[in-house]
Subunit: 606 residues, 2 copies
Amino acid sequence: MRKVEVTFRPHDKVTRVPEGTTLFNAAHWIGLPIESTCGGRGTCGKCRVRVLAGEVEITPADRRWLSEEELAEGWRLACESVLAGDVECFVPALMRVPKAATMGLSRFVLLEPNVHKVHLVLDPPTLEDARSDVERIRAALEAEGYGVRIELPVLRHLPIVLRTAGFDVTAVLCGEHLVAVEPGDTTDVSYGVAVDVGTTTVVATLMDLTTGAAAGVASNLNAQAPFGADVISRIARTRMEETAAAELQRTVIGTINGLLEEVYAAAGVGPERTYEMVVAGNATMLHLLLGVDAHAISVAPFVPAFREPLDLPAAALGIRIHPEGRIQLLPSIGAYVGADIVAGIQATGLTREPELRLFVDVGTNGEIVLGNADRVLATASPAGPAFEGGHIRAGMRAADGAIEGVSLTEGEVRLQVIGDAEPRGICGSGLIDAVAQLRLAGLLDASGRLVAPEQVPDHPLADRLVELDGMRAFLLAPDVPLTQRDIRELQSAKGAISTGINALMEILGVTAADLHQVLLAGSFGTYINPASARVIGLVPPVPVDRIVAVGNAAGEGAKMALLSFREREMAFDLIRRVEYVELSGQEGFNEAFLQAVRFPELEEVT
Amino acid sequence: MRKVEVTFRPHDKVTRVPEGTTLFNAAHWIGLPIESTCGGRGTCGKCRVRVLAGEVEITPADRRWLSEEELAEGWRLACESVLAGDVECFVPALMRVPKAATMGLSRFVLLEPNVHKVHLVLDPPTLEDARSDVERIRAALEAEGYGVRIELPVLRHLPIVLRTAGFDVTAVLCGEHLVAVEPGDTTDVSYGVAVDVGTTTVVATLMDLTTGAAAGVASNLNAQAPFGADVISRIARTRMEETAAAELQRTVIGTINGLLEEVYAAAGVGPERTYEMVVAGNATMLHLLLGVDAHAISVAPFVPAFREPLDLPAAALGIRIHPEGRIQLLPSIGAYVGADIVAGIQATGLTREPELRLFVDVGTNGEIVLGNADRVLATASPAGPAFEGGHIRAGMRAADGAIEGVSLTEGEVRLQVIGDAEPRGICGSGLIDAVAQLRLAGLLDASGRLVAPEQVPDHPLADRLVELDGMRAFLLAPDVPLTQRDIRELQSAKGAISTGINALMEILGVTAADLHQVLLAGSFGTYINPASARVIGLVPPVPVDRIVAVGNAAGEGAKMALLSFREREMAFDLIRRVEYVELSGQEGFNEAFLQAVRFPELEEVT
């Protein structure tokens, strides 16, 4: 699958997205919420952008909302603009003062944050009305419909704040917690942060809670990385060194606080006006963030200490939002289906629609969710590091010089290399492409064996089949071989994922034909070529246009939960609605896995 | 406030309580402890009663614990049944074999602490039952009738504790807070502390919560004393020096922690088995303890920041009980009728009996409570320091050398001196005695004027009447004069108290003859000669045997609240039941005060 590059003016932001993505979503995913009230359905006509370079086809919706003259000038509705090549465009309007925002997979989210600011003009006390300050403010809030808990730090200064402000104040509530009482009317300034704590990358988005717009986005590598690349190795460290758990906690909080500084600086906003943080992340990341012992997650029977959506004071973690602000963790479904997946499900609306959808987050641990509004199953599959280039001879992360796309048509090897550099290695999406292309080129059989050159003497690519350290290999580039063992690694990884998918489909009694969509989450999901994923059997054999990359669904879900308490409550509810399936407890698991490492027959998937 | 009538069957007991009271509390107040293990939180489902007449709304907790059929038959949870009208109900089960202790003013207290220890033998997790640790322990506690909140510090070590203990643990709850999970069965060891934070003295009592017995008592001067002898001067310091509030907080916490060390050492008990502290004290002491700005207490209209019974983590204050233990403050009624008085009322049972009683705590601030089960009034009187020997020429605290008792009968001066020492000065109780004896000896008129020696030439004590610095005085001992100005100071102090008493009696329309008892609280109340108090008009003219010293009622009340959640809830309820009367807002206050500084005529009080 080809990636296309989109440049947004006047923000000068650039992103690379799979061809087929809409301009609207491409913008949204990098924190440019283009004005819209319909949620990207082409019905409000507000998301107009002007294409400055590149081609975007005119759609019927464009014709409905734009004049011939405007169309000729390059104006298009962003939500209807399906990208087929590189584009540069001008965005005249981002979301302003909406009482709603479009999030996730074109989900329309009403702006109803959990943070409430209530301006109160209180009667000053008299001898006849000498209620305590707490009673006075509580009564006024109750009159407005808010019941509150008052915490000690707010209480400490309450008498002074009330009196210096002449009893004209703004109460700031996070849910039931009174987190601040500010002098005067500050209702027009309110921020929150959505954070996705990934094992590899942490992303923080500062959201303006009065408009629903993103005020700043920043991402960085999780500084825990030196403790181990994956969750198991990080947990192992906490068993080996007594101080490691505290160190891991300190480290990830440092990463988060660093991102906060960035987004505060970018938006000109301070922590004292940022009252809440919503956190998504896998269960291990959440345990390590709280300093909760995570060892039981890493050994059978794989038990997290908590799954529930904890609500903690920011001060307890040293996270630099408002000192009395709150940290809301999203809930986890199981030890290996964490709050990131809960957020992803929420972002896609999978549990709200009647259509059956399959959600797959491919990584070291593959998370699989299958269902619809009626019933939802989830499971986790230990895919191993192959999809991230691990255990692959020429494997590397998606960085400059990595082969991210492969085509073997017409007897030619065509490579898409990140950064227009010489190919140095291959990343996960390139690996999937390469193997799929070898299958289609007749150089790889269904069992996963590379053919011998002498079996295909007339094949134009036969000379690429070489012997390397006593093992067969295919040379993608002079220094980038794909070995038989690499293919076995990929088979094992994809076998783990498809065993999980198959198990869930079997429980629901459905086949590929019943699947309305296959949603690929995560940055890796964004770059996988859907056709290749189907050829190698990573996903069920559905039409390619039903395989949809949903981007950083976890981050989107966290943002939705920040902007809308309704969405948040739905996410909380998933802990009960989603049935967790433990694969290693399933009868016949090993047989199913051995079957799943095979590639599908080509006639099934082409 | 409207009263409603409740009739309990089959006991045929009837009570009248304020509307808004729960059936559960109403029953307790007349000595019917309805079965319960959760402390009236609606989580154990054991306090079911059947409503026979009257209306009680169905609550969500009712729906959780009772079937549709039971609800239709009138069954309700007593603790959830808020009374809005007269009700007749059937109580199937009272607490059986309750442990009890005698406390306060011969009050019989059921041993039902807010601290619960629950021994749990949990099923270890399996692949089929991989619930999180929190869910596992929560479910087990819910099965025992306890709903809990889990705090981060307990969560951090929960996985390790459960696994090293083989899932055989004891959960320690303070109310709804899970404060500890201990390996094995530790239900036989449980302590709490009751603390009375006085302006002058702090008293801590370590209580064995499994027996109700005191395990150790210690008292010490409040180390805040150098900041000022009374609450006003301490508050003033917080206005003068920016660091004073923090310093005052640190200081009193130091005093409390010092007392804890003493009682722990005496009882051979450690902080890790001491889970809760109940604190009584005047409103200013509680504000300073929490580091809450108290300035508004000291100036009209005299507004505390809070009155409610705050429940705080011990760690937030640095108080050395169990690190996750809880500090429960008793509520205050007003800026100058604090949690010490609430505890005192609770200890005396004043609001539970039909007989009218007057409760007086004499000190720099006199607190006065008048009432019975039907109605209770309270007020505060700024008596000034005379009762503590302040502003008195030979005044001193009750220490060695202080005259604490005086008799002038048979023409002789007989002195009772503390510590069998030579008299060096006079303390409050001695002062009251001396003035009363001067009145009875005919040396002091009702207006408070010492007679001139030439008016009583034949009086055997006439030679004790001397001129001192141009002022008349009576020589109690060679170096201990009682001057005319001293007597004026005492008059002013007792006038303030009796003005308050008179105001409350007037509101209720009662006279001294209606008073069943006059209760004198505090250490000062213990040492006052009741007859002298009556002669000088400090208390109304009731028979002397109706004037009862109740000792450290505040400390007793705190102990009761520690031992019994029912007593605690009744104490919490006093904030609503007791009507606070602001004297300075009363019409005719000044005239009443001027009248009250006079001494009663002798025929009224002898």
